[in-house]
């Protein structure tokens, strides 16, 4: 039982989850409400504004009339694009965090994770898939997602000319965007392919030399993940959705959120594999360590989240506060904003605080599920409100979460079934993992 067999029952369950997600997405499109029902009150003000403008110019009244059918159509499309894009970005980041986990535990002379390290390895292989999906989004929908890709913003003669974006044009332009896409994709695919070949070769021909070499690559992986992939991916793919806004805590926050989601998914997969009879020597000590990391990194996520929020609140510069004005103060996102904080910090903190509950399967599963959902909501809040100022978190978002998680787990289990030695029984450090006790 040291090679995982991806049985048809599991595949069926994942297909059903994907189907439910797709169904929810269609239901979300069908029942789509662009906020016009809740915005009746604003309607009066809206009319007043249009009346004033009617006096100024008869031509502009057309634009301020009630949303036509086509406009609503466009908003539904944008909601679907924004949610799907957010889900792809989320999936890419979980996979990247899995590679970071492999590198970080290897560089730290980690022994406890040897038996389970094939799971993050298989998760990291998702990088290739999600980079492809993101590329599709960038090619076809970049003008919908990124405001700054429109050329007219940089033309001083155009009425839509934007001074701030024109100043940022040296960095925020399609040349930089594609250059960094190629760099990020090239480096991360090379690294993940390297990790795959090293760890599978270690199964067949275990050698200290290869292991030592993997530690050197682990150091390179960490540096490149932090300073190249993570930094520029968050700047160009997420922060530039609201191009007038910037924050230095954003990159940290994204990566911390991705790592804690990845750990939650990892522990759910460990429980799943153990329930199928695999990984016989993984016991509550290993699970305890993963749960400890979950606890620690959810606190770290809160640290970055709070630091970003407090600095912006305290400085009170309009160009910075607009980010939280959209997300916290407005009706559509205000609840979700506090809800994510509750899901990502308060609940996991109190559920996982005691030693006993970190070793309790039910408590850990509950915390992991809450964290995955909470982090997805936070990723939604980072990416979508700028695109959907009226719409909120709804069926489309939940549907895209279910779809992306089932695809992610499908690929992970598919890659795991290709691994010959699931528990890495020939790794030089595996004995340390067997005797691990805390």
């Amino acid at each position: 039982m040291n090679t995982y067999v991806f049985d048809s029952g599991t595949q069926k369950k994942l297909f059903i989850t994907f189907g439910i997600g797709l169904l929810l997405l269609f239901l979300g499109v069908f029942f789509f409400n662009d906020g016009s029902a809740s915005a009746e009150m604003h309607g009066a003000a809206h009319e007043a504004v249009s009346k004033v403008q009617e006096h100024a110019s008869a031509n502009t009244t057309e634009a301020h009339a009630a949303p036509t059918h086509e406009e609503k159509h466009a908003t539904v499309g944008l909601a679907v694009i924004a949610n799907i894009y957010n889900a792809f970005y989320f999936g890419f980041y979980i996979a990247l965090a899995a590679m970071f986990f492999l590198a970080a535990t290897t560089i730290a002379w980690g022994g406890w994770q040897i038996q389970i390290q094939k799971i993050p390895l298989a998760m990291a292989m998702n990088i290739i898939l999600f980079l492809g999906l993101l590329l599709v989004m960038f090619i076809f929908f970049r003008h919908d997602i990124f405001e700054w890709t429109h050329e007219y913003l940089y033309d001083p003669k155009d009425p839509r000319f934007d001074k701030i974006l024109a100043d940022k044009h040296d960095f925020l332009n399609m040349g930089t965007f594609w250059t960094f896409f190629v760099i990020i994709a090239g480096i991360s695919i090379t690294l993940v392919a390297y990790w795959w070949s090293t760890l599978t070769t270690l199964d067949e021909q275990p050698s200290m030399k290869l292991f030592s070499k993997s530690r050197a690559i682990a150091a390179i992986t960490i540096v490149i993940t932090a300073f190249v992939i993570n930094t520029f991916a968050t700047w160009l793919w997420s922060m530039s959705i609201q191009p007038h806004w910037y924050s230095t805590m954003y990159t940290w926050n994204t990566m911390a959120g991705a790592v804690v989601t990845m750990l939650s998914l990892l522990i759910l997969l460990i429980f799943f594999l153990k329930s199928k009879g695999y990984l016989p020597n993984v016991n509550e000590n290993h699970e305890h360590d993963v749960a400890k990391l979950m606890f620690a990194i959810s606190v770290f996520w809160t640290y970055t989240w709070f630091a970003q929020y407090m600095l912006i609140w305290y400085a009170n510069i309009p160009e910075e506060t607009q980010f939280f004005r959209v997300r916290r103060t407005m009706d559509n996102y205000g609840f979700l904003f506090h809800f994510t904080f509750f899901c990502n910090f308060i609940l996991p903190f109190f559920i996982l605080m005691k030693r006993g509950s970190k070793r309790n399967k039910t408590a850990v599963i509950v915390a992991a599920t809450i964290i995955i959902f909470g982090q997805f909501s936070w990723f939604f809040l980072m990416n979508c409100p700028a695109l959907l100022p009226k719409g909120g978190f709804g069926l489309i978002s939940i549907g895209s979460l279910l779809m992306i998680i089932s695809v992610f787990i499908f690929v992970t289990l598919k890659m795991l079934s290709r691994v010959k030695d699931l528990a890495s029984t020939t790794h030089p450090y595996v004995k340390e993992s067997y005797q691990f006790k805390i």
Binding site: F306, Y309, M310, W313, Y314, N316
Partner: protein
């Protein structure tokens, strides 16, 4: 002096032998007062049947005290006693308090736990140490059995025999 106690001491020279001895002696129903080792022996606290420490529970309450003290004090000063307008922020600006409240929580729990730890270990500055055997600070291990008035000489000889059987290199009585 009246506050000294009499102990039966068994000296061991190997940690594995000590672990086995502890297991067997406790299995035979004798009560071990304490074990002295030159380095932490893995699993010894489990074999001795020591309760897990409750120090972290104390730490939680010290932390909660620190949080309450910091929060109430800053609120009292900033909101009621001496309200100052800082950049138009509200007088009760909870977000700005959080870093200090956090530090105060950590400070209280750290100092409180340190002091409780010394109290529980009966350590304080200027305390005269009671040393069972000076060699336990270097290379030997000791097990002690408290001998009060209820313990008969038969008990002493029974435990001594058992200790020797378990591999003790020396057995003697000592008053500290």
């Amino acid at each position: 002096m009246s506050d000294t106690k009499k102990y039966l001491v068994g000296i061991f020279d190997d940690d594995d032998v000590l672990l086995h001895a502890v297991k067997d002696i406790r299995g035979a129903g004798y009560e071990i007062s304490d074990a002295y080792t030159p380095f932490p022996v893995h699993g010894l606290e489990h074999e001795l049947g020591l309760e897990p420490t409750r120090l972290h529970t104390a730490g939680f309450f010290f932390g909660a005290t620190g949080l309450t003290v910091a929060l109430s004090m800053i609120t009292f000063i900033n909101k009621f006693n001496y309200p100052t307008n800082v950049g138009g922020k509200p007088f009760f600006g909870l977000l700005a308090y959080i870093p200090i409240v956090f530090e105060h929580t950590v400070l209280f729990s750290a100092i409180g736990m340190t002091v409780s730890f010394y109290y529980l270990c009966k350590l304080w500055p200027g305390k005269k140490p009671k040393i069972i055997d000076e060699r336990t600070t270097d290379h030997l291990f000791a097990l002690t059995f408290e001998l009060d008035n209820s313990k008969t000489s038969a008990y002493v000889s029974e435990v001594s025999d058992l200790l020797k059987k378990e591999g003790a290199i020396e057995v003697y009585q000592k008053e500290v």
